[in-house]
Amino acid sequence: MKEFLDMGGYAAFLWPSYAVTLGVAILNVVWARRSLARATASARRRLAAGGADS
């Protein structure tokens, strides 16, 4: 296990690059869901405030 984590001495470069790319992927999921939630919430507010023809 320790040998695996060490990656033949490249650990300091390899793991950060995996962390950044997979982190960006996860952030994309979070951002996408948040932007959809925000748009849904504002659509609901609009409907509640004055019907669909505001």
């Binding site: 490249y10 690059s17 960006v24 952030l27 996408a32 869901r33 849904t40 659509a43």
Partner: protein
Amino acid sequence: MNWAWFHRLASPPHIYRLAQQLTPWFAWPAAALILTALYGGLVLAPPDYQQGDGFRIIYMHAPAAWMSLMVYTTMAVAAAVALIWRMKVAHAVAASCAPIGASFTFAALVTGSLWGEPMWGTWWEWDPRLTSELILLFLYLGYMGLRGAIDDPQRADRTSAVLAVVGIVNVPIIHYSVTWWNSLHQAPSVMRLGKPQLSMPMLWPLLLMLLGFTLFFVAVLLVRLRGEILVRERSASWIREVVGT
């Protein structure tokens, strides 16, 4: 020719519902493919004879670079479709693409730099591929800046669509000129970041990873697309049905 079926297919409510239904069909296979490829790339693939275990950065760098270009192309094609056929949904697709593409372009730059340090001995090398990625990031930032600077959503859509189309015409020219520029100044002593010779056990995780990230892009795009459609369809009564007041 009767285009009625086309307009029904491209109508916002239809696309919204379709996006909702399709998302899991892309998201779960994407997760499965990426996890399999991670295992294949980190555990099963043998170390490279030249770069040792360092070559495994390719399983992150290549998909990020692939995403940066594929997303830009998708964005430009959607923008062109939107301009030519005046399709609101296509504008929503283009708007959804930009943040995804920009973030993966950033990841491609960071992983390229992390790969460069052990291979070249410097964090940054004016390598043609890295330089092109950097310029691509500027193109994304300009697109998002232009979109953000225009208040009227329809004008923002159409103006930024022109920019996306102009950008995609320029991408090959930029890439060619950067490659040409680099070939003039190439210092022979610096080792190039050559593509490692990939044998089969090294190659299949990479291909799975590329496919996985592509499906992942579609899934994230579909989620964002629904939000963008809601923003654009302010007065449509179908929204009441889908957001469930």
